[in-house]
Every structure is written in C-alpha cells, then in structure tokens.
C-alpha cells in the first residue's frame, strides 16, 4: 500500500475538486484525507502498489491541466505590466496570451516526474517545471518589452487577432446579438448563455469570453454599426456578411 499527498494553496482548492472526483471514480484508490490547514488544502489518497503508476498518470494530467489552464493565467497577470495595456483589453489579452501554444506547455509539464509521494503543487511548478516558468516569463517579458505599443488599441487588437487565429477552435458557432437591453451570446443551439451591458468594461469581458471560447464562426447581429462591433469583427477576422 502506498500513500500520496497533494498540497495546494487554499485559493486553488476548487480547482482540485475535479481531481478528487476522478480519483474516486477510478476505483484504484481510497481518499484518506481531504482537509484545510491554515492556507493549504491537502488531498491524501492511498492505493495498492500496482495501481500507483496509473494514479501518477492521472495526477500528472490533472496537475498539467491546472498549471496550463489556471495557473498560467494567474502567473501572467502577476508578471505583465497590466497598467500599460488599455484597461478594456486586459482580460481578453491575458486570456489570449495564456491560451497561446498550450501544446508545448503540456509537453513540458508531462515530462516532469510526478512519482514523488508528496507534491506541493506550486513549489513543484517552480522547482521541477522550470521550463514552463521560463516560457511564461518569456511571454511576460515580450509583452513588457513592447508595452509602449499597447497603449494604442489597434496594436492590441492586431495582436489579439493573431492570437485568436493561432488558437485551436473550441466552439463551432457563436452568435453575438447587440440588442437594446444589452449584448447576448448564443450558442449553436440558439440558447443564450451569457449577457453583457454595453459599457466599456463589459465589452472587454465579452471579448475575453469570446477569446476563451474561440469560435470557428462568429456571427454578429446588430441593427446599427458601432465601434465595438467593428472591433470584435477585427479581432475575429472571419466575418459573416
């Protein structure tokens, strides 16, 4: 019988609910403990020796997903000089830059040795996955070195457009309807799943959501043209006329 413990900062506790469920469902191990202590959330599980390599594999994928889909964004937010970027574009830019080239991130991340019995998630990243940190720092430096360009919205829009083009499409069709009461996003089945107001910060959030969902086809419906629509059209350069 072997035991394994995963410790993570309490603010990321809910990101590990998925791992806990996955371990439970796998029927390969038993959750021994699942507790909070000061600022740390710990998850302990035990299994027979022969199942350990399978469990290590589950942990490796789960931690990699956490690093790439959650912590990369957090890292970039804390290392990019966000004051230099036009406020409205900050969420979309962080989202787009964090989604760029996640394949390589995953390759580097899965290369690490996850067989150790006690993994402290964040220190593990900084000590065992320095390649990832170096890459993220390179992205942050690239933004900071060019920050003088980002005070112009056109430069941010051009870069967002490039990043979106190089992102793998996640959803097929999204429809954005600019209505009198606000803006609604509809999915492929014509179901509205998110609404925004027309104010500037909400437009920024709308762009961030669209960047995150990265639709293959974006249909924009509006009764009258305005600069926000033009901007979204420019970022998602495929247009339906």
């Amino acid at each position: 019988m072997k035991e394994k413990q995963i410790d993570v900062d309490i603010k990321f506790k809910y990101d590990f609910a998925g791992l806990k469920n996955q371990l439970k469902k796998s029927n390969l191990c038993k959750i021994v403990a699942d507790y909070e202590n000061d600022d740390t959330y710990s998850l302990m599980f035990a299994c027979e020796d022969e199942h350990m390599s399978k469990l290590n594999n589950i942990v490796a994928h789960s931690l990699s997903d956490f690093y790439i889909n959650r912590y990369k964004k957090y890292y970039l937010e804390h290392h990019i000089n966000l004051n230099g970027i036009e406020r409205m574009f900050v969420p979309a830019y962080i989202c787009a830059i964090a989604s760029f080239d996640t394949f390589t991130d995953k390759d580097i991340s899965l290369d690490a040795d996850y067989t150790i019995n006690k993994i402290s998630v964040i220190p593990f990243l900084y000590f065992k996955l320095q390649g990832l940190i170096q890459r993220w720092q390179m992205i942050a430096n690239l933004t900071n070195d060019n920050i003088q360009c980002f005070d112009k919205s056109t430069a941010v829009i051009d870069l967002l457009c490039y990043l979106v083009k190089n992102q793998q499409n996640k959803s097929k069709i999204l429809k954005v309807c600019f209505e009198e009461k606000g803006i609604k996003i509809y999915n492929n089945n014509e179901l509205s799943f998110q609404s925004f107001s027309q104010n500037k910060s909400d437009i920024g959030d709308l762009i961030a959501v669209l960047v995150k969902l990265c639709p293959q086809k974006l249909i924009i419906n509006s009764t009258n043209a305005n600069s926000n629509i033009e901007m979204i059209r420019k970022i998602f350069s495929e247009k339906v006329l």
Binding site: C149, D158, K165, S237, K239
Partner: protein
C-alpha cells in the same frame, strides 16, 4: 555480303535515329530559363548544334536588375529550343534567414463558407453560385477592399435589395455573377449569407534582400487562405520582428511548426507588395541587413546535387547555418516552387526540430558560396526531406 549489308543498314538506322533524337534530348536536358552573371551579349556558337544570344527589348526585366534575352538553340538550322536568359547586373545579394511575422490584408474577400440568413421566408442560402475559395473583388464596379466594405456596399441606399453584379476570382480567373442580398430579419441589414475572411498572418523566413534597393523576397511559396487555399492578392501587408516561443518537432505524417508572436506596431521591418507562387516580395529597412550575409547569386544553372547549407533562426534572434544534401535538382518545372529536393543532414537541426518545420519556409539555401534558392515545403512522410524553389524563380517573380 548480306550480313555486311544488314550491319550497314542497322548502323545507318541507328545513326539516323540518333540524329533525330538529338533535338528531343536537347529540349529535355536544357533548362527553359537561366540566370547568368557574365556578359552573354555576344555569345554565338556555330556548328550542327548552334546557339545564339538574342537580346530582348523587354523593359520590365531591366526594372528588376536584369537584362533579359533568349538563347536560341538550332539544330541543322532548325530552332529546337529557346532558353530565356537573365543577366544579373549586380552579382551579389544578401542571404538572410531571419524569422519574420507577416500580416496581410487581402485585396477582396475570400469566401470560406455559406451561412444561411433568416429572411421573412425562413433560413435561406443566397449566393449559391459563389463557391468556397472564390475571392470577391468588386460589387457593382466598386472595389471590395475589406470585408467591411462589402457590408457598406450592399447596405448602400442605391443598392439595397437590388440584384448586383459581383466580380470574383476563381483559380486565378475572373468571373462575373449576379447576387441579390436579402434583408436579415435579426439584424435588419442586407446580407449575402457568406462567411468571408480578408486577412492572413503567420511567421516565415526572409530569403534575401537586395542591397541597393532593399527589396526582399521571403517564404518561397504564397500565403494562402488556411481553409480554402486561395492565394490572397495583397491590399496591404507588413513584416514584423518576431519572437519564437516554441518549436514543435515534425514527425511522420505531421509537419512540425515554429510558434511565435509578433507585435504589430513599432516593430515593422518593411512592407509586402506581392504575394506570388514563389514567395512574398516587398521592401524592407536597413535594419534587416544586420541579419544578412553577402553571397553571390545562384539559381538553376549553379545548383547541383551535393552538399549545401540552409540559414534559419530557431529562436527568432540568432541565425544559424545547418547542413543539407541536395538530392535532386530539376531544370524543368518553371512554374514550380517544388523543383529542388533536399535532405537535412545536420544532426543538431534534426535533434532540435526533427527536420524542416513550418516557419522555416524561405530559409536561404546556399551552395558553394551562392544563394541558389529557398526552402518551401516539407515531405509529410519524412520531416528531414524538403522541397526548395530556385532563387532565379523568386527574382523573376519579385
């Protein structure tokens, strides 16, 4: 006696056949065009197989630093082949190898799909006569510069709801058709129901820069729409400094790629004016010369099977030279950007990239101190093998 006659007959037949085959052999073995860097103006070789240089009055050739002419090959006084000869005025060129970001705005819009519109009759497909890959260039005689200009034209008061004449390109040929935009009930605007794209961006490698004019050539192949393959006419284009963030190694069945980012604002390295089958062309800045090295011009007439090198930048900053073996050179295929086959032999490059990867297109190929061409494609079943285009084809089309 009979045997001697038979022998003589056979010999005569063989001799006549050989004589008849000469024009075929000449036609097949000589290139259709060549670049020379020496004075060919008085070239005249007499004999059964004669060759004479005839200068051309083509003024467009001199504009691109060439003087153009034809070498007429005659056999028994009968013309068997004309070889286009380009004499380069300046024998040196800068070979580059720098990775650049390219952003193009197309002239016209590329149709990438149909999209039904909700009209008063329900969902309708409108422009069924326009296919995916077509490029809409004009509507009612008005130039379509960007996708937004299509919207403006079809929603113009004078055209609203009317049948309009559209000019479009399909496989390089121009066609006309009529289109009738319909009122979209959701947006209350007139729409064509077409899903279009009007720009493209990516990273590639700079092949050469001409020192006197700062004209450049890059990529060695066209920038085409990612979904439809349509070659975009350039409305506006820029090249930028690019940072390479990662390299995905090529493997059997899948080409690897360089992943990089470029910021389009203050990092422009020049403008793109042409997008052709043999690469993109335009004008760069003096800054670019620091990444280049001066070499002699080569091409089809100097390339031969054997050792050569390619220049490329795997980190976006430093330009490195890697060994290759040219496996096959072909004089023919004037319109092909796959006329040269090579294999990467450099262990360091294979270890770092697996061979040729996307983003290395345009990497200069240097043989015996001459720039002979550029990398264009990779073999999908073997990432260490690739195709190249000759430099003279790039220069001719620049």
């Amino acid at each position: 006696m009979k045997f001697i006659k038979y022998l003589i007959g056979t010999f005569v037949c063989f001799f006549v056949c050989m004589l008849a085959l000469v024009p075929i052999i000449v036609n097949d073995s000589l290139p259709n065009s060549m670049i020379v860097n020496y004075d060919i103006s008085k070239f005249h070789k007499k004999g059964l197989l004669s060759a004479k240089y005839i200068p051309s009055n083509d003024t467009t050739a001199t504009a691109t630093n060439f003087s153009k002419g034809q070498l007429q090959i005659k056999y028994f006084g009968i013309n068997v082949k004309n070889i286009d000869v380009y004499k380069v005025e300046n024998d040196e060129i800068y070979a580059c190898g720098k990775t650049v970001g390219v952003a193009l705005q197309s002239k016209g819009v590329v149709v990438i799909g149909q999209n039904p519109i909700i009209t008063k009759n329900g969902k309708e497909i409108i422009c069924s006569n326009i296919n995916v890959g077509d490029i809409i260039c004009e509507i009612e005689g008005e130039y379509v510069e960007t996708a937004d200009s299509v919207s403006k034209i079809i929603n113009d008061e004078q055209y609203k709801g009317k049948e309009l004449v559209a000019k479009y390109k399909r496989d390089g040929k121009v066609y006309y058709t009529t289109i009738k935009p319909k009122l979209d009930m959701e947006s209350q605007t007139y729409k064509l129901g077409l899903w279009v794209r009007d720009d493209a961006s990516g990273i590639g490698t700079m092949t050469y820069v001409k020192s006197d004019t700062l004209e450049f050539g890059a990529l060695g192949h066209p920038i085409s729409d990612i979904d439809t393959g349509a070659i975009m006419d350039v409305f506006d284009g820029q090249i930028y400094k690019c940072s390479v963030l990662s390299i995905e190694k090529g493997s059997r069945g899948q080409a690897g790629q360089m992943r990089g980012i470029f910021v389009q604002s203050q990092n422009s390295l020049g403008s793109v004016s042409k997008n052709t089958n043999f690469g993109i062309f335009g004008k760069t800045t003096n800054d670019m010369l620091q990444y280049c090295k001066k070499v002699k011009i080569g091409g089809r007439n100097t390339a031969k099977a054997g050792k050569a090198t390619i220049l490329c930048s795997l980190d976006g900053k430093n330009i490195e030279e890697f060994d290759i073996d040219i496996i096959k050179t072909s004089y023919k295929g004037k319109n092909s950007n796959k006329s040269l086959v090579f294999k990467v032999t450099d262990k360091d490059l294979i270890q770092r990239t697996g061979g040729i990867i996307q983003g290395m297109s345009g990497s200069p190929i240097i043989q015996n101190g001459r720039l002979i061409g550029a990398v264009t494609h990779v073999f999908l079943n073997d990432a260490t093998k690739g195709f190249g285009v000759y430099l003279d084809l790039m220069l001719e089309n620049s």
